[in-house]
């Protein structure tokens, strides 16, 4: 195939553009008396050679990054069924409201009485998340899902320590996302893995065997990363609670169950939310995110400081109620970061909750589950299921995991090849090789904001790739062909890492 225009483009970094002396910034004039440099900052503390930042004009910057942006695939341009990531539509209304000066230019140390709007928003968001999760106490502070997990495990520790217990084990199923075990280690505890049963849920035998008084917590996703709702969840909760451990809910898959069932009602003690998944915070190519947590009453005393509270007003200000930060939490695990969390993400999540309301959130989850099941059914109708069977169960929740083993054996193409070939068809591939226990896993999450037409076209594309591969597997094995770059040598990158522009 001949090169596409983007493939022909010379790849230069911003540091390789521009010329000595070029610039965009115009420094405000020195409006105060000039003072000798030495007097302001002695030579010993001064930098001699300035950092070699780019020297570029504003038009060069714009053109550089606009062109760079075109080398990205994005949700606004195409279907992005990346399992576990909930790539739902990012409403632009949210960007508009987040950009209002009253939100974006609000200093985090502004007096609470002069930040009542922000505090009210946080308080309302706390309330909504509590209601959605069925757990009444919320901290908005964590910066992402994994940060919420860390908070959760530290809360569990604090809870046990407060009871004089030093439990060191945390149970995680083998389907768990990598952040779960990594978090456990960072929190100073030890991972104990749980097996998965034939239905895709937790192997109860294994759980019973491992649930002892050393267990601090069981971390679970439900529906889990197989897209399977663990029907035994009440029994699991029972087992875990019987040994005095807590039950942690990884909320990455909340999009399946909003308004349908609630972690609190299932028996979970702690849940984290990914506002950048279920609640439309755009992913930004890898963040920002936000990972609030909600907890049951027995965990509440340990929540990070501060939390947002509403109080009756003492009357000075004319309002009935005032919102404030509460720092007086003697049993708190402390802070997880500076200030109060990713407020900009709160604005977007709150706007989303306001837009959808109670019914809309439930509709969203219903549509997410309907879309996933329809896509699965469509793939079956097209005969794809023979080569890519569903790993577990018959139906699925908001996502499903296919097993690429048969495809690999019959067509000699791997899941990776299928994924890369999808790029040529204009799709972002599903998540691949996760969860680990499924051979050649392909994890598909269409989300509720996609149309039936898109699902139909995507299913047809998969079918077409398989048909094509039966004839000529090289097409997939060498895919992608039409992307700005083709397959990249990751091994070389890791072996001799070049992680900055040489200057």
């Amino acid at each position: 195939m001949s090169e596409t225009p983007q493939q022909r483009e010379a790849v230069l970094t911003i540091f390789e553009k521009g010329a000595e002396g070029r610039r965009a910034f115009v420094c405000p004039e020195l409006d105060v008396p000039a003072v000798a440099a030495e007097q302001l900052l002695p030579a010993r503390l001064r930098r001699v050679a300035p950092p070699r930042l780019p020297e570029v004009s504003e038009p060069e910057i714009v053109r550089h990054y606009v062109k760079l942006s075109k080398r990205n695939f994005d949700l606004d341009s195409g279907f992005y069924p990346l399992g576990s990531c909930t790539m739902k539509h990012n409403p632009r209304l949210h960007e508009r409201v987040a950009a209002l000066p009253g939100h974006q230019r609000l200093h985090p140390l502004q007096e609470p009485r002069l930040a009542q709007g922000a505090l009210e928003l946080m308080w309302r968001l706390q309330g909504a998340l509590a209601e959605i999760s069925g757990l009444p106490n919320v901290s908005l502070q964590p910066s992402a899902g994994s940060h919420g997990e860390l908070a959760g495990v530290l809360l569990t520790r604090a809870y046990h320590e407060d009871r004089g217990q030093r439990r060191h084990k945390v149970l995680t199923p083998d389907t768990a996302h990598g952040t779960n075990p990594a978090t456990v280690t960072m929190a100073g505890l030890t991972v104990v893995k749980l097996a998965t049963d034939a239905a895709g849920g937790i192997d109860l035998e294994d759980l019973r065997a491992k649930a002892d008084e050393d267990v601090a917590c069981l971390m679970l996703t439900n529906p889990n990363t197989l897209g399977v709702f663990d029907r035994n969840i009440e029994e699991i909760a029972e087992i875990v609670h019987r040994v005095g451990a807590t039950l942690y809910y990884d909320g990455a898959n909340l999009n399946a169950i909003m308004g349908v069932t609630r972690p609190g009602d299932m028996g979970f003690d702690i849940v984290h939310f990914n506002l950048h998944k279920s609640f439309t915070q755009p992913h930004g190519g890898g963040g920002p995110g936000s990972g609030p947590i909600a907890v049951s009453g027995r965990i509440e005393p340990y929540l990070p400081v501060p939390v947002v509270v509403r109080r009756d007003s003492d009357g000075d200000e004319g309002d009935d109620v005032v919102y404030d930060f509460d720092y007086e939490r003697p049993k708190s695990i402390g802070r997880l970061r500076g200030f109060h969390g990713n407020y900009g993400c709160f604005v977007r999540a709150y706007a989303y909750i306001c837009s959808l309301g109670a019914d809309g959130l439930k509709d969203a989850s219903e549509a997410a589950v309907l879309n996933a099941n329809y896509l699965l059914a469509r793939l079956r109708q097209l005969g794809v299921a023979e080569l890519l069977p569903l790993a577990y169960g018959e139906l699925c929740m908001h996502e499903f995991v296919l097993c690429g083993g048969p495809m690999k054996r019959q067509l000699q193409i791997k899941t990776l090849d299928l994924a890369k070939r999808l790029l040529d068809f204009g799709y972002h591939p599903p998540t691949v090789y996760f969860p680990l226990l499924v051979e050649e896993a392909l994890m598909v999450e269409p989300t509720e904001t996609e149309t039936k037409e898109t699902l139909d076209e995507f299913a047809s594309a998969i079918a077409a790739i398989l048909t094509e591969a039966a004839e000529d597997p090289e097409l997939a094995r060498n895919a992608p062909h039409s992307t700005p770059v083709r397959r990249l040598d990751e091994a070389a990158a890791a072996k001799r890492p070049v992680i900055r522009q040489a200057l």
Binding site: P42, N72, G102, A182, G259, N342
Partner: protein, 465 residues
């Protein structure tokens, strides 16, 4: 159909038929035990149209007094710098705003190259050879660095200067309690050492069990530390701790780079670099280090490589450090970080440019100096320290700071933060910390001086009465 969904009645029928179920209800009924199903609607307000949501969020925004509405000298970790329009424009492009973490590098070269450029800029700023693509924000970046130090040398003791931001110290305590290290705080000095790390105590606190020695540059009080000396004191020979500096990146055009001072790891809060205030987040944390820490760093790292045809390209590299590969053995648990904010950072730094970052630093130095002179000329205002200050100034007021603040705010000027209210330290009583950015003109500084003077007098009159 609710907002943003598209399933019409006809769609639904066809879809259910294809699935082979009667209803959406059945889909759930067959998977989620009946007992667990929420039998009522969520107790949340009804959904609203776009216009109503906009009006509601706008009225909440109007419940805040932002830096657009008052002259604010608040700093203490986040700063009211001017963010150029190109930052917004580029970050709002769908292609940067809406993708996930770049798991498919062939269609993520934009984001990956931007990360690579960001890493380069951070290396240049800090004078260190390696940097990652971002961590959450400033204080937790310090905690991540301390964790890395522990992974690196296996020791269990962290020495931390009291010159660190209180939020940093608190965060460090929270994390360290988790990963099982002890945190020892080194006090600030007095006299010429006021507001910076007390050197003797620093020296004394660091022993061969010390995993990490951490200080802030400048200190929370805006005082420039003698970083070289702190490093020299910490590194006495064998078994040295990892020396970590939390640095304010915007001053690194004029302030000696951490790398030049011998620091091992430089981390910090990136908000000053093209970020919004956003009531505290999202922003980004940066993380730079000496080469030997590369394979133990947390977070994403973009690396350069070639494609099949030899084209230059970028990938996420050294992923075996990370949770999705290494799971419980990962160098951290971080997954989603702050890519978009980091993009804003590198766009901002490109806009500021090689000359600009120096010019801006000089401007801040000069204005801060001016503010120092004007404000300390006021009766009842003293300097808290004699160290150089680049863009943040700590003063002592002979009055109740909360009341002085109230009076100034009523005049439309926030004079800076009440040190003691933030730090909780008794020693900070009477302290006011104020930040100067390029948005705070001489005229505004003059206005602050006169407002502050009047406020002080009014406080005294009240006390006298």
């Amino acid at each position: 159909m609710s907002r943003y969904t598209a399933i019409t009645g006809a769609d639904r029928e066809q879809m259910l038929a294809a699935i082979g179920v009667e209803s959406v209800e059945e889909l759930f009924a067959r998977q989620v035990p009946e007992r667990l199903r929420l039998a009522r609607a969520l107790s949340l307000p009804k959904g609203m149209g776009e216009q109503e949501v906009y009006e509601h969020l706008r009225s909440l925004a109007e419940g805040n007094v932002s830096s657009e509405d008052q002259i604010s000298f608040l700093g203490g970790g986040m700063y009211d710098h001017y963010v150029p329009a190109i930052v917004d424009m580029l970050c709002e492009r769908s292609e940067f705003l809406t993708p996930y973490t770049p798991y498919q590098p062939e269609v993520s070269q934009g984001g990956l190259q931007a990360m690579f450029e960001f890493q380069t800029a951070i290396c240049e700023l800090t004078g260190l050879p390696v940097a990652n693509a971002s961590v959450y924000e400033g204080p937790s970046a310090v905690a991540f660095a301390a964790y890395m130090a522990k992974l690196y040398n296996g020791k269990g003791r962290i020495v931390a200067s009291a010159g660190l931001h209180p939020h940093t110290l608190q965060t460090l305590h929270t994390y360290a309690h988790g990963f099982g290290s002890e945190v020892v705080e080194v006090p600030l000095g007095e006299g010429p050492e006021a507001c910076v790390t007390e050197r003797q105590a620093w020296l004394a606190a660091i022993d061969s069990d010390t995993s990490a020695a951490i200080f802030a540059q400048p200190s929370f009080y805006g005082a420039v530390e003698d970083a070289e000396e702190l490093v020299a004191l910490a590194k006495q020979g064998d078994g040295d701790p990892v020396v970590i500096a939390q640095v304010d990146p915007i001053v690194l055009g004029v302030l000696k780079a951490p790398g030049e001072c011998g620091v091992d790891v430089a981390v910090g809060e990136g908000q000053a670099l093209g970020g919004r205030l956003d009531f505290g987040g999202p922003s980004f944390g940066f993380f730079a280090a000496k080469q030997e820490y590369l394979r133990r760093m947390p977070g994403r790292i973009a690396g350069e490589t070639r494609d099949l045809d030899g084209r230059r390209g970028f990938v996420l590299t050294l992923q075996t450090r990370e949770q999705h590969i290494r799971r419980e053995k990962a160098t951290s648990n971080i997954c989603t970080a702050q890519a978009l904010n980091a993009l804003a950072g590198v766009v901002y730094l490109s806009w500021l440019g090689r000359q600009g970052i120096v010019e801006l630093g000089e401007l801040l130095l000069a204005r801060t100096h001016y503010a120092r002179q004007q404000l300390t000329a006021i009766d009842g205002v003293q300097l808290l320290h004699e160290r150089p200050a680049i863009r943040e100034l700590a003063l002592y007021l002979e009055a109740d700071v909360a009341e002085v603040r109230r009076r100034c705010i009523a005049e439309g000027i926030d004079p800076g933060l009440d040190l003691q209210a933030l730090s909780g330290r008794e020693a900070d009583r009477g302290g006011l910390l104020l930040a100067i950015t390029e948005r705070r003109s001489r005229q505004q500084i003059d206005a602050l001086a006169s407002t502050l003077e009047l406020a002080l007098r009014a406080c005294w009159r009240k006390v006298a009465a």
